[in-house]
């Protein structure tokens, strides 16, 4: 397979990082890795890379050819660095169309783990909205179809189960964000058969650690994490601050990588889905897909450090 210049440069950079870095974050359990960090989906055992790509805000660019091309480069960087999970929703304006255009430009429909959502209070519109989203993405079926923010979840879940049984979708899930309706989500996770949940979790928003993530572990539910950078707020608050010593020792050179490694180092988390509109930011994000992860005490150190800033 011929490598493009972009693939070569990115591959070299990531390989170099893996070679030169000392045991990342001094993990005493010795789980150093040089390949992409992948996690199993509990319901099937299928593995997916632990860093995915969200599209909230970033891919809603309408029909602007210049911006569509830019977003195509972002997706290309993501795929080249080993990412597969792409998440979108009908709520995100033209994002699904732009994802579809980017996939078409890259001829990459079969390289993504496609995660879409149903977002309508009309509980009989599950199939119709799924078909509409499929047309925008240009894929034959979604790997994962989720119920967005629990909207009309009872009716949608029933239909999604039928669709999964008939092979129209592979996995079903339910989502929340910004810490909304965690009590409702917990009840659904405890009583319904789900493959995935999606929730907000980051170094500052840690409410999910108390109940949702333990339930996911107990019930064998994969977890997608949205807003791992708190919608960019973490950068606005901490980017000008120095990284903690433990990060520098480990070769983690950016806050993005550190924030993401904090998220995916939780044993219940399957994949974090940060969103970005910039290629260089995507490269920083994807660096978190390689190397070691912090252990429990190092995670606590990170939280304490961030809180102290």
């Amino acid at each position: 397979m011929a490598l493009t210049r972009r693939q070569f440069v990115l591959g070299t950079a990531l390989s170099g990082m893996a070679i030169v870095s000392r045991p990342l974050l001094a993990n005493p359990s010795g789980t150093e890795t040089v390949s992409a960090i992948a996690r199993g989906i509990p319901s099937t055992g299928e593995t997916i890379p632990a860093i995915g790509m969200g599209t909230w805000i970033t891919f809603n660019v309408g029909s602007d050819p210049y911006l569509i091309d830019q977003r195509t480069r972002v997706l290309e960087t993501f795929l080249t660095a080993g990412g597969t999970v792409v998440d979108c929703s009908p709520m995100y304006g033209s994002s699904a169309n732009v994802v579809g255009a980017a996939l078409e430009n890259l001829q990459a429909h079969d390289r993504v783990f496609s995660a879409s959502k149903v977002w309508t209070s009309d509980q009989s519109a599950t199939r119709e909205q799924t078909r509409s989203s499929l047309g925008k993405w240009g894929v034959a079926r979604f790997d994962l179809q989720q119920i967005h923010n629990l909207v009309g979840w009872q009716g949608h879940l029933e239909t999604l189960r039928e669709m999964k049984a008939s092979g129209e979708i592979r996995y079903i899930g339910i989502t929340t964000s910004h810490g909304r309706r965690h009590r409702d989500l917990a009840r659904i996770m405890e009583t319904e058969e789900l493959d995935f949940v999606q929730l907000t979790y980051n170094v500052l928003d840690r409410e999910a650690e108390e109940r949702l993530l333990p339930i996911a572990q107990d019930r064998g539910i994969a977890v997608l994490v949205n807003r791992p950078f708190q919608g960019g707020q973490l950068f606005r608050r901490f980017e000008a601050k120095p990284l903690p010593d433990v990060a520098a020792e480990a070769g983690v050179s950016t806050w993005a990588e550190l924030f993401l490694k904090y998220v995916i180092s939780h044993p219940a988390v399957t994949c974090a889905i940060p969103a970005t509109s910039k290629v260089d930011h995507m490269q920083e994000n994807m660096a978190a897909l390689y190397g070691n992860l912090p252990n429990a005490s190092q995670r606590q150190e990170l939280v304490a450090y961030v809180r102290s800033l």
């Binding site: 805000i57 970033t58 809603n60 309408g62 602007d64 911006l67």
Partner: protein, 236 residues
């Protein structure tokens, strides 16, 4: 969708695009419309002159230009470009078309007399708005291609033409106030949420123009300028 679900969303959650994408709308509009900006701006600059002319046909032309500016901003910027990334823009686009129709109807009805005896100040404020305000988007974006041209970009169009309701006689001018106020509120909330603070100048100036329009009004009941009452006795 359940009401309690909507109450969990903040304005920021519902704004599904970033500043770059919004400013690109101005760039695309200018690229697609070029070179028609030039005659549109020239006609826009002539509006206050034409409104003060004694010939009814010229005043009629001015009113049609004002109405067309609203329709063009609504059908062009809002319906064709902005609504792709922000669904409320579609509704606002149609509201702009309605405002254009209202302006044409009310303006042509009042065409029997020159609009405003305070014409010099009206002209000066109008020209300053049409000439200076478009540069706000340039300041925010860093590119002259994002110039918010009168007649195409809604912010500048609304700001300049907000002088008009106060200049109309009687109560009919108030019919022209709700849609501009709706736009000013919507755009101010949008720019605030996007944290594009330069662009907040657009709705702020738009609101100031509305006030100035009534201040320059010839009606003594509406005007702070006592001189204007003396120049328009027929108005009472």
């Amino acid at each position: 969708m359940r009401t309690d679900v909507w109450t969990t969303y903040s304005l920021q959650d519902l704004l599904m695009f970033g500043p770059e994408v919004y400013l690109r709308l101005c760039v695309r509009l200018n690229q697609d419309f070029w070179p028609w900006q030039l005659p549109v701006v020239v006609l826009g600059l002539l509006v206050p002159v034409l409104l003060g002319r004694p010939e009814a046909s010229l005043r009629r032309l001015a009113w049609l230009a004002i109405a067309s500016a609203w329709v063009l901003s609504g059908a062009g910027f809002l319906l064709t470009y902005y609504s792709e990334i922000n669904w409320p823009a579609a509704g606002l686009g149609w509201a702009f078309v309605v405002q254009g129709v209202l302006l044409a109807g009310l303006g042509l009805r009042s065409v029997s007399r020159p609009l405003n005896p305070q014409g010099r100040r009206f002209q000066l404020v109008w020209w300053l708005t049409v000439i200076l305000l478009p540069w706000v988007t340039v300041l925010e974006s860093g590119t002259v291609q994002a110039l918010a041209v009168f007649g195409l970009a809604p912010g500048v169009t609304v700001a300049a033409t907000n002088l008009v309701p106060g200049a109309l006689s009687g109560r009919q001018g108030w019919l022209l106030v709700p849609i501009p106020l709706l736009w000013l509120t919507f755009s101010a909330a949008t720019f605030w949420t996007l944290q594009v603070y330069w662009l907040l100048v657009l709705p702020v100036v738009g609101l100031v123009m509305l006030v100035i329009g009534y201040w320059l009004s010839p009606s003594p009941a509406q005007s702070l300028d006592r001189q204007s009452a003396h120049h328009d006795p027929a108005h009472r």
